[in-house]
């Protein structure tokens, strides 16, 4: 009961709990003491078990005892703790029992009680991890299991058959017993029925784990996964037992002590350890991956062993048994089949048991194909991740190292708000590329999260680079526009200064001369014509200044593009049609359009020998379109350094375009399109 492991104050004070805790300590101590008997070889109890196996035996019993005790101390009422404690205890109980009995009974008990080794793991599988059955109907399963185990053990205790191997000369205490003989003769069918029942209870344990896995989520799911991993080892061991048995049969040796027994103990240890990890440290390892790999190799081993055995037997019939060729061919076939088979099985296991991960990774791969075909933009990877992870609120934020900020797929800079979503950093070659904001529930599905993110790593980096590039480009464009804007502002200031500064002073100078002239005494009237000339000069200077100011920036632009172009048309030496709407757009755009029109008109008059020019402007969908058409000789090109080339850059700075079409002999048309606001 991991989620309730912390003691509540009430539980701690409860005397009943305290008693249970003492009982758990008692059981654990008894188990250890009983276990010490064979380990220390008291009364020859160790029998024929080799010395190196002793630690395995000890671990196999101490592991469930320790785990059970630890859980029981923290949470004395936990059923799983008691299943493990008593499970190990019941098996070790045979040691003092055997000491007290004669050799015949000792052997009989030893022969009959081996199913007890499997009793506690199966019981744990039924109630893990919350200590309760999946449903009341599982009581029948438990009932059937108990009947099977007790029945099999009971019938084997009654078995009057002789012992085998080294003990063949020890008489069976049941030999000649009426009950034993009757049972042996009449209940053999029952024995096999109960035996199948025992196997069925094992399968039921696997089914229970599978059902729990399907129904649980979050922490509970991870816990069940740990147990599932240990349970998976059972078929592995069975397969290895088969192989060693088969090889033993072929080679005439028995591997029981060397292989089968250690493996059986190993499963026992693994089971206990996995329960312990599941209860205390369920996030310790990438359990999903562990289960996945174990599953793959279990299936692979089983298949290869089956193939090897099948081939050896099949070819043996054809080529005569014992032929080296048979073994060689079977080995070759199995060796060649290993890699492709592994891949197929991995795929199958992924699809069958890690459906979400499999689908998620496939979603990412499909997206990569779509990007390659140009059907999708790489920036959409964020949406794809949300789909692949089945978290519609998941969002990807790209890291921009240059600006030290995060951006979304559109390139908008965003703050990572603390809205309760989990953040998973995505790195590539040690450098952060992005952060995924996602539901915290995904942290319990690290296999899915990591698998999908690993598959998407390249796409994410590509999208990030594109976002970064787009941002930098936008920044460059913005700064170019700012520079041009500043240029226009400067022109405007210069024009103001000319009008309000120098021109004003010239006018007041002229006015003073006029006052002087009008105040001249009668006798000095002869000076008057000279002063007239001075004022004329001043007037000329003012005219010049006005011209210069108009070249810098026509003040008429203050009244809008249409007014400025109308003025331009009036001052032109050839007729100019102007069809420009009166509506206003921002001043810098009007100025850019004006200067283009000015340049085009100058070119038409100066080089194209045009007799008529028409200027049209229209605003469409936020774009100002201006065209200047003449009826001149055509053949104009935008040369580098020419007036139009400079204007092309200026128009581009506003995000616009300038196009010149000038077929020889058919006039010239200059077209400008500039994005604008009103």
């Amino acid at each position: 009961m991991p989620v309730r492991i912390a003691l509540t104050a009430r539980e701690a004070k409860d005397g009943g709990m305290q008693r249970l805790r003492l009982a758990a300590c008692g059981v654990a101590t008894a188990t250890t003491v009983f276990l010490a008997l064979p380990v220390l070889d008291v009364g020859g109890l160790r029998g024929g078990i080799p010395l190196w196996l002793v630690p395995f035996v000890a671990a196999a019993f101490l592991a469930p005892t320790t785990v059970g005790l630890l859980i029981a101390l923290r949470h004395p009422g936990n059923r799983i703790a008691w299943i493990m404690l008593t499970g190990a205890f019941v098996v070790t109980l045979q040691f003092p029992l055997v000491l007290a009995l004669d050799e015949g009974w000792a052997l009989q008990i030893d022969r009959a009680t081996w199913p007890l080794l499997y009793a506690w793991p199966i019981a744990v599988a039924y109630v893990f991890p919350n200590g309760r059955l999946l449903s009341p109907r599982w009581r029948w399963v438990i009932g059937a299991a108990i009947v099977s185990f007790v029945g099999v053990i009971g019938l084997m205790l009654l078995n009057p058959g002789p012992f085998y191997g080294d003990d063949a000369d020890v008489p069976n205490p049941m030999a000649g017993s009426a009950v034993g003989t009757w049972a042996d003769e009449h209940l053999e069918w029952l024995f096999w029925v109960l035996w199948v029942g025992m196997l069925a209870s094992l399968v039921a344990g696997a089914v229970a784990i599978r059902l729990r896995l399907r129904r649980s989520s979050g922490i509970e799911r991870l816990q069940v996964l740990w147990l599932a991993w240990a349970a998976l080892l059972v078929p592995v061991v069975l397969a290895l037992c088969f192989v060693s048995g088969f090889l033993g049969w072929v080679l005439g040796v028995t591997f029981f002590d060397w292989v089968v027994f250690p493996l059986l103990l190993g499963v026992e240890i693994a089971m206990a350890v996995s329960v312990g990890v599941a209860v205390a440290r369920y996030r310790l390892y990438a359990i999903e991956r562990l289960v996945n790999r174990t599953l793959v190799y279990v299936t692979l081993t089983t298949l290869l062993v089956g193939a090897f055995a099948g081939l050896t037997i099949g070819l043996g019939v054809l080529a005569g048994s014992g032929s080296e060729w048979v073994t060689a061919v079977a080995t070759l076939v199995v060796a060649t089949g290993f890699l492709p088979l592994r891949r197929r099985i991995q795929d199958l296991v992924d699809r069958r048991f890690s459906r979400a991960r499999y689908d998620g990774v496939r979603r990412v791969r499909t997206f990569e194909d779509e990007v390659r075909d140009g059907r999708r933009a790489p920036e959409e990877i964020g949406t794809i991740l949300a789909e692949a992870l089945r978290d519609p609120l998941a969002e990807l934020r790209f890291w921009l190292p240059a600006t030290e900020a995060f951006a979304d797929a559109t390139g908008e800079l965003v703050e990572l708000s603390d809205d309760g979503r989990a953040r998973t950093e995505i790195d590539r070659d040690g450098a952060r590329t992005a952060v995924l904001l996602h539901d915290t529930a995904l942290l319990e599905r690290l296999d899915l999260l990591n698998g999908v993110l690993a598959a998407a790593a390249l796409s994410i980096e590509m999208a990030r680079l594109r976002v970064e590039l787009r941002l930098q480009l936008a920044e460059v464009e913005a700064s170019r526009a700012r520079i041009v804007e500043a240029g226009y502002e400067e022109r405007r200031r210069l024009e103001r200064d000319l009008h309000d500064g120098a021109q004003q002073r010239l006018v007041s100078l002229g006015v003073q001369v006029r006052r002087l002239q009008r105040g001249l005494p009668r006798g000095a009237a002869v000076l008057s014509p000279a002063l007239d000339r001075v004022v004329d000069e001043i007037g000329g200077a003012i005219g010049d200044l006005r011209q210069i100011a108009a070249g810098v920036r026509p003040a008429r632009l203050d009244d809008g593009l249409s007014a400025a172009l109308a003025d331009l048309a009036r001052s032109a030496p050839i007729p100019v049609d102007v069809d420009v709407p009166h509506e206003r757009v921002q001043a810098s755009v009007e100025a850019a359009a004006y200067f283009v029109a000015c340049e085009a008109l100058t070119n038409a008059v100066r080089y194209a020998s045009a007799s008529r020019v028409s200027m049209r402007a229209v605003r469409e969908n936020g774009t100002l379109l201006v065209s200047i058409t003449d009826d001149g000789i055509g053949g104009a090109v935008v040369r580098r350094g020419s007036g139009l080339a400079g204007l092309k850059d200026r128009v581009a700075a506003h995000g616009g375009t300038l196009a010149v079409s000038s077929p020889r002999g058919r006039g010239t048309r200059v077209e400008v399109a500039i994005p604008c606001e009103s």
Binding site: R496, H499, D500, Q503, Q504, R505, L506, V507, S508, G510, V511, Q512, R514, R515, R518, G519, V535, I538, G539, I542, G543, R546, A549, A550, A555, R556, D558, D559, A563, A566, D567, A569, R570, P575, V576, D577, V578, R612
Partner: protein
């Protein structure tokens, strides 16, 4: 004539005031911005306000807006707007909206007699439009040949009419007799189909015609 002057260039303002006083007018107030102008107009109720277009704080068209304001609040005060450069849209609009209004480029002051005459004309309910503005108005837009029907002399007369001059003024300017000018005027009005216009209404009709043509 009682006059107020609004111009932020002190030297020029004093010079113009001097010219006007030399000519026998009374300059009752000299100010440097539009706000002050509106208050002295309310205070002194002058016959004429001479206003610079660009004044503090933004140096855009404060003078023009103050002129429109004066016209609305105190129509008895005539307004003569002085500008550094031609802004014909505003100018034609304001001059064309009624008498007692003038728009001249600043350097016209240097032609003192013309300037004084324009000031007097405006204050007595007439109008004055800068020749530069009129010149732009008289350039025929492509495709319209109505103005082409006029003889060169008639176009000259039309221009002076648009400037707001009386027949006598036109006659003096062109060294013609008033009768000859009258003949030209009626011929022009006939060709442009502007009938029954007289006095300042004549200027309005001519301006309206020219503006429509642009």
């Amino acid at each position: 004539m009682r006059i107020v002057i609004a111009d932020d260039t002190v030297l020029l303002r004093e010079g113009v005031a001097g010219l006007l006083e030399d000519a026998g007018h009374t300059v009752v107030a000299r100010v440097g911005d539009a706000e002050a102008l509106l208050s002295v107009v309310a205070e002194h109720e002058p016959d004429l306000a001479i206003v610079d277009v660009r004044m503090p704080p933004t140096y855009e068209d404060e003078g023009m807006r103050a002129a429109a304001e004066i016209r609305q609040r105190r129509p008895e005060t005539a307004v003569l707007v002085l500008s550094q450069h031609v802004e014909s849209n505003h100018a034609v609009e304001l001059v064309g909206s009624g008498g007692g209004f003038g728009y001249l480029l600043k350097d016209r002051i240097l032609d003192v007699d013309e300037f004084l005459e324009a000031a007097e004309r405006v204050s007595s309910g007439g109008s004055a439009l800068d020749p530069e503005v009129v010149k732009q108005l008289l350039v025929p837009p492509a495709g319209d040949d109505t103005l082409d029907q006029l003889t060169p002399r008639e176009r000259e007369v039309l221009g002076l009419m648009a400037e707001g001059r009386t027949n006598a003024g036109i006659a003096k300017q062109l060294w013609l007799t008033e009768r000859t000018v009258e003949t030209h005027v009626s011929s022009i009005l006939g060709k442009l189909e502007l009938h029954g216009a007289d006095g300042h209404r004549r200027v309005l009709a001519v301006l309206a015609y020219l503006r429509a043509a642009v």
